[in-house]
Symmetry: C2
Subunit: 189 residues, 2 copies
């Protein structure tokens, strides 16, 4: 029931917005009483934070696997990570939209642990950029922090527009983004 | 009074969210009656769409100026446009956040004209990428549409994290992003 409640809420929060969705609507959708809701969650914020944590923890787990893959060099890890983010945002589109849009509705109590994990995700990517610099795969004078922000901008923004049913698959989009990031769009003179 | 009402609403919508802000709160803040509100706006959606249109029209105007600057080649136009977006999002941070977060609260009637202008902004940037390809400044095999999405991701995402009071100025961030986009982070073997 807990997972069902989470799934129904993801659907409603994405469709109507977190603030606009009442606990009554959630339990009506499931054909249960409010008592059932309060058996699993203290309030709507706690449900929202569960959705957020599920999403970011899923991404962190996938990210760790890539970081620890010793068969890959930094460039390959970068590619794998970009593909993973595009793919995950796309596969879990509703959760992704709720994650990016509804963060500020968490309230201070739940916000902190979410922000911590979100920051961890960014720091892991930055660590990969730094590793690539250190190993001589990426240029040595890079501003690793800002490069990381730029990569996250490219990938995260996909939640706003990307439709893999369109002309470009997640694999192709990964290739395009990796090519820009590694080699740029400049034509050598 | 209309501009004052817009300014107060930008502040409240950013702080509390569009749905959570009532017309009563807006007029209370200004010390006027609801009648004054309805003199200028049919409803809250119309006020929101005015905020959105002001923001995107400001960006479009700046963008047209850059596109029409014949003294600049495509690379310089790209740099100018990235700087303009970072700078504008930062200078109008509250409007930018409302623009990106509250789009879906516009309702179908107002959404259309906003989406049209937002699409125009993207198409103008894509036109610049295509111009650069055509003139031999950018590589000829680029997927102009996806490259444009990537650039917009890097710049638009700045609304989410960028604080120019921090270590990196808008000029420096522009340099970093332009350098990645033009030349990539790869170290040549």
């Amino acid at each position: 029931m807990k997972q069902k409640m989470i799934d129904v809420s993801i659907h409603l929060f994405d469709k109507k917005g977190f603030t606009e969705t009442s606990i009554q609507e959630i339990v009506d959708e499931l054909g249960v009483t409010k008592g059932t809701f309060y058996y699993y969650f203290t309030n709507k914020q706690e449900l929202l934070t569960t959705i957020h944590l599920n999403f970011i923890e899923f991404l962190l787990k996938k990210q760790e696997e890539i970081l620890q893959d010793e068969a890959k060099d930094s460039r390959e890890k970068l590619r794998a990570m970009i593909y993973m983010v595009l793919q995950s945002i796309n596969e879990r589109k509703k959760s992704a939209r709720i994650f990016f849009r509804e963060m500020r509705n968490l309230g201070p109590k739940y916000l902190e642990q979410n922000v911590e994990k979100r920051d961890q995700f960014r720091k892991n990517l930055q660590q990969l950029v730094e590793e690539g610099i250190h190993k001589g795969e990426f240029q040595e004078d890079l501003h690793a922090d800002m490069v990381t922000r730029g990569i996250l901008g490219m990938t995260n923004w996909s939640y706003y527009w990307y439709n893999p049913e369109g002309d470009v698959s997640a694999e192709e989009l990964t290739d395009i983004y990796v090519e820009i990031l590694l080699n740029g769009i400049n034509k050598s003179d």
